[in-house]
């Protein structure tokens, strides 16, 4: 007995073992078709009694296991069905010969046998034999089931006769000693006349009869026999057989208590068995009358049959608790014998199945723990795999999912053990996949994006690595890329820097052969592997939708020239995109990896409007901080466009990252309206661009701003070139100006222009330039400069009656008599405290093309930054007494700080010409 049958369960004790085997060349497919049909006949109601016979079919059974048939009769092969293919009558004698040869293998235990011949008509057989059946082909064999039933009935007759035979030869004859194979030599030369020996023989026989009764469907009788056997064997310390008797007792009780079966093979076989307890009393009556051992059964042929049977059952049948105790006891007896390892193992398995039904997981785990340590002889690799798999299955059944996953993983590893010449990577991979639930790992990255990681990262990572490796060895690089991406995406927080490097390195290696895609990978087992988008490489800086809009920083930041004003009062920043124009979306990303991350082919994912995304490639430095990325694209049609994500290609893996799947980002994209095409203007001016940017106090975006430095009173013409760089003609233009920062008092008109000149050039075709002149005139008040007043008061002369500030007011009316000065001359005057600035915004509102028809305008703003310097300084002020006491002469030292000649004119029309840098009185 060397090959354990891990699928055994307690009910198997009541079954008859029938081996179905092919002989000669039988196509496997056909054999299993017939085998399946035969297997359906697993339960037979024997005629003229209510007993039920159960049959267990095997297509393979090691003959050495058969030798233990006396020990437990369900291990005995009692029936043999041979299926053979015989194409011509000539082959028939040979085939028949083979049948007999096969019969001899199990010959010692066989009750009966059958031969099914396919491919021959009946005429070959010289005389009809009951044990041979001919069928023309595998398709025309309707009577197979019927024949099997007949066959089983014949088995039953033999079984019944054996049972009666053994049960009745009580005391008179000498009882032969039944023994297991390894015991045989122990009994050589033993005194066969001793009481001890006799008792042993009796006990063993009693147990054997119990087995037979159980098989014959007489559960009640078997219980009685088992009880007696236990008593007898206990008294002679025959532990192995005592164990067997106890196990038999347990099996019978289990069959009684759990008619639904413990094997978990739900099906037709057990379904019918559920009616078993109700008919049990009737069914077992015939047997009970014949045995005449149980005192209760002795009187049971009277009227009180029912009650006595009830009493008998209650007494003999073990309770659920007792079953486990007895199993424990039996196993402890088995464990005394090294050669009974298989029996012990199987008993453990059976007990676990019972405990699983009783929902007593803790005790079941103890049995299993014991089973793990049962050391059988050197197992082949295949047997090891089988053993680990079944352990895993049993742990699963008692709800120990982690333990189950552990053993399944061990089994998977065993499939590819180095000692195996042909590693079964496919099987290994399949087993590994089955362990996933045990490690609370799902292969859907969506399960991970919902909040923090749950589970045992170290173990999960290991498993993922193994999956990657197994799938690679299976020759499915797409699969390993998928698993590796999953590992990288979900376990990023748990990988060390070195591991991150290694993983990405191998990922790049794999993707060079097979790039990662966004398609589902469907496995042959029917599992679908969802795609793994790299939402963490790089990580999008989380912001919520509201702030996106108000800050204009993240998604909604658009190029000012893509922005148009539709006169809508909107609290949020309202903007639209223009068809055919390049639009931008700015993202803030950062790279969590300890090395440079190259992101290629990054672009926007949109819905709604036909959108041509212009992908960008970027390279993020290691552990970068927030890094702005601008993604651009061109909407091709008008309508509502929704930006719902972006796509990237990192390490050769393409991923589509949808915003609503990103952790911490509470938006599912933002919608932008795309409006018909509009012209676009580019502004260039005669003045240099300014480094200053105006505070966008009004909420306007300033596309460019220019600066100029002027002396007070100076006028300068600003030439603005308007170039239509769009594709639509420019039809309409409106200009408005707004002065900001106007704390200073401004005299006269600051900015003036004549729009008509420009408009006359309209409509402006694409690529054409129009000019627009703006006159800048600065007149500012530079009075009240402290140091001068100081001088005045130092003179000690009262100038009462005159408001102190008035002398400087409007005294100087500088008039520019030079041509507009070159702005590069600015900055000559070092004393900036005198410099005042003026800022203004020129707003160009223009439209044209199809967008104009819909009433859309574009807005373009030009910021103007003017630094104004005073053109003359009064360096010294003093008074001189005049002829009248009511008057005085006011002496002013005037300094011309410009580089030009200028004229100072006063009320009395005295003109004073000042040359550059000159100082006069």
């Amino acid at each position: 007995m060397s090959v354990p049958d891990y699928m055994q369960c307690a009910e198997d004790h009541q079954t008859l073992l029938v081996v179905v085997q092919p002989v000669g060349i039988v196509p496997e497919e056909n054999f299993f078709r017939i085998y399946k049909r035969i297997s359906t006949v697993s339960q037979i109601n024997v005629r003229d009694s209510q007993r039920v016979l159960y049959i267990r079919y095997r297509h393979h059974y090691p003959p050495e296991n058969n030798e233990w048939g006396d020990f437990q009769t369900h291990r005995k092969v009692v029936g043999l069905i041979i299926i053979t293919d015989c194409s011509s009558a000539k082959d028939w004698p040979q085939t028949f010969e083979k049948f007999h040869l096969q019969k001899e293998i199990y010959g010692s235990t066989l009750y009966d046998s059958r031969l099914f011949v396919f491919g021959l008509q009946e005429e070959v057989a010289e005389q009809p034999r009951t044990d041979v059946a001919f069928y023309p082909s595998y398709d025309e064999c309707e009577t197979v089931e019927k024949r099997i039933e007949d066959f089983i009935e014949s088995l039953f007759i033999v079984l019944e006769s054996k049972r009666l035979d053994r049960a009745t030869d009580k005391s008179g004859d000498k009882i032969p000693l039944l023994c297991v194979p390894f015991e045989k030599k122990d009994f050589v030369g033993l005194d066969t006349d001793s009481r001890h020996y006799k008792k042993r023989c009796q006990g063993r026989m009693r147990k054997h009869v119990g087995d037979l009764c159980l098989q014959a469907g007489m559960l009640q009788d078997s219980l009685v026999h088992y009880h007696m056997a236990v008593e007898l064997l206990r008294s002679v310390n025959d532990f192995l057989w005592l164990g067997a008797a106890l196990e038999g007792l347990c099996s019978a009780s289990v069959i009684y208590h759990y008619p639904g079966g413990t094997g978990g093979k739900a099906g037709a076989r057990r379904a019918q068995g559920s009616s078993l307890p109700t008919e049990a009393s009737n069914r077992h009556r015939p047997g009970a009358q014949e045995v005449l051992i149980d005192p209760g059964a002795l009187t049971s042929n009277g009227i009180n049959a029912d009650t006595s049977a009830e009493i008998g059952r209650a007494k003999n049948c073990l309770g659920p608790e007792d079953i486990i105790d007895k199993y424990k006891e039996a196993i402890s007896y088995y464990s005394k014998y090294k050669n009974a390892g298989v029996i012990e193992l199987e008993a453990c398995v059976k007990a676990v199945r019972v405990l699983a039904i009783q929902k007593r997981s803790m005790e079941a785990s103890e049995f299993l723990q014991n089973a793990v340590y049962i050391n059988l002889r050197q197992l082949s690799e295949e047997e090891k795999i089988q053993r680990y798999s079944i352990l895993s299955e049993l742990y699963e059944r008692i709800g120990f999912h982690r333990k189950s996953a552990f053993f399944k993983r061990v089994a998977a590893m065993q499939c590819v053990a180095p000692s195996i010449s042909e590693p079964g990577w496919r099987a290994c991979y399949k087993l590994l996949l089955e362990t996933l639930p045990g490690y609370s790992l799902s292969l859907d990255p969506k399960d991970f994006s919902k909040g923090t990681h749950k589970g045992w990262a170290a173990v999960q990572m290991r498993l993922l690595h193994e999956l990657v490796y197994a799938s690679r060895r299976m020759g499915n690089p797409a699969l390993s890329v998928r698993h590796l991406s999953f590992l990288l995406q979900t376990m990023l927080d748990f990988l060390s820097d070195q591991e991150k490097k290694d993983v990405t390195q191998s990922l790049e290696n794999y993707t060079s052969k097979c790039p990662g895609t966004m398609q589902f990978i469907t496995l042959p087992e029917g599992l679908r592997l969802p795609p793994v988008p790299f939402t963490k490489l790089p990580i999008l800086f989380p912001l919520d939708a509201a702030s996106l809009f108000s800050q204009g920083e993240f998604l909604t930041h658009c190029k000012p020239n893509a922005q148009i004003n539709r006169f809508i009062n909107c609290k949020d920043r309202y903007f639209q995109w223009v068809q055919g124009d390049v639009c931008e979306v700015q993202l803030m990303v950062y790279n969590p990896m300890p090395f440079e991350l190259r992101v290629e082919n990054m672009g926007l994912l949109t819905a709604g409007v036909e959108f041509e995304s212009l992908p960008a490639a970027l390279s993020l430095p290691a552990e970068s901080g927030l890094y702005p990325v601008t993604l651009v694209g061109v909407p091709q049609t008008t309508g509502q466009i929704t930006i719902n994500g972006y796509h990237t290609s990192v390490f050769g893996v393409f991923s589509d990252c949808l915003l609503d799947n990103l952790p911490g980002l509470k938006t599912n994209g933002c919608a932008v309206e795309v409006i018909p095409a509009l012209p676009r203007l580019q502004i260039s001016t005669s003045l240099p661009r300014s480094a200053h940017t105006l505070q966008p106090s009004s909420g306007d975006d300033i596309s460019t701003s220019v600066s100029v430095q002027l002396y007070n009173g100076e006028t300068q013409q600003l030439v603005i070139k308007l170039e239509n760089i769009g594709t639509e003609p420019l039809e309409k233009l409106e200009v408005t100006a707004k002065t900001v920062n106007s704390k200073e008092k401004l005299y006269g008109e600051f900015l003036s222009w004549k729009l008509e000149d420009t408009l006359s050039q309209f409509p402006l075709k694409p690529g054409k330039i129009a000019t627009f002149n703006v006159n800048i005139k600065v007149k500012l008040d530079f009075s009240c400069q402290e140091n001068l007043l100081q001088d005045l008061s130092d003179d000690g002369i009262s100038i009462s009656g005159l408001p102190l500030s008035s002398p400087f007011r409007q005294i100087v009316k500088p008039r520019v008599d030079s041509k507009p000065i070159n702005a590069t001359e600015s900055g000559k005057v070092g004393d900036f405290s005198h410099v005042k600035t003026l800022e203004a915004i020129l707003n160009f509102k223009y439209s044209g093309g199809p967008g104009h028809a819909d009433g859309y305008y574009r807005n373009l703003s030009l910021g103007l930054h003017v630094e104004v310097e005073p053109s003359v300084f009064f360096t010294h002020v003093s008074t001189l007494p005049a002829t009248s006491t009511r008057q005085c002469h006011l002496l002013l030292d005037v300094f011309n700080s410009t580089e030009h000649e200028l004229t100072v004119s006063a009320k009395n029309n005295e003109d004073l010409v000042l040359h550059a840098g000159e100082c006069q009185r």
């Binding site: 997981s361 803790m362 785990s365 723990q369 340590y373 742990y395 709800g399 120990f400 999912h401 982690r402 333990k403 552990f406 490690y439 609370s440 923090t452 990681h453 749950k454 589970g455 045992w456 990262a457 170290a458 173990v459 290991r462």
Partner: protein, 139 residues
């Protein structure tokens, strides 16, 4: 003394795990991970009625060939698992119990740290030292 000490969060992921033979750390990960089955089973077996006065110490979870695995569960369902060399027969149940109590106290200290977020991995030097002392104790 103990060869491996682990603290496991309510949701069954490790908050802290340390073992002495560092070269085969994964083995202990597996040992502790599978022991959670038994912990779960024991907790569910205890039932709800006895939640208040139930024993935190779960006793021996299961023995393996080389080690014994003991468990302890706090009222907040945080589990402590300790793996002990099974050759060390001198170790009594009571000592294991007191070790767990020490561990629990130290864990409570960690939780009292205002900078510690419950659910994060434990990176506390005091806790580390305590575990080291438990592992180092003369056998």
């Amino acid at each position: 003394m103990a060869v491996c000490v682990a603290v496991i969060a309510k949701e069954n992921y490790p908050l802290y795990i340390r073992s002495i033979p560092t070269e085969n750390e994964l083995k202990f990960h597996y040992t502790v991970h599978t022991s959670l089955d038994v912990v779960d089973e024991k907790i569910s077996a205890m039932g709800k009625a006895l939640v208040d006065q139930r024993e935190l110490y779960l006793g021996l979870l299961y023995p393996t060939e080389d080690y014994k695995v003991y468990g302890y569960v706090t009222n907040s369902k945080v589990k402590f698992v300790m793996v002990v060399d099974s050759s060390n027969t001198a170790l009594r149940d009571n000592e294991i119990r007191s070790m767990f109590r020490k561990l629990h106290n130290s864990y409570t200290d960690v939780m009292c740290n205002p900078f510690y977020n419950p659910g994060d991995c434990i990176h506390s030097r005091a806790f580390d030292n305590m575990v080291t002392s438990m592992m180092m104790q003369v056998c």
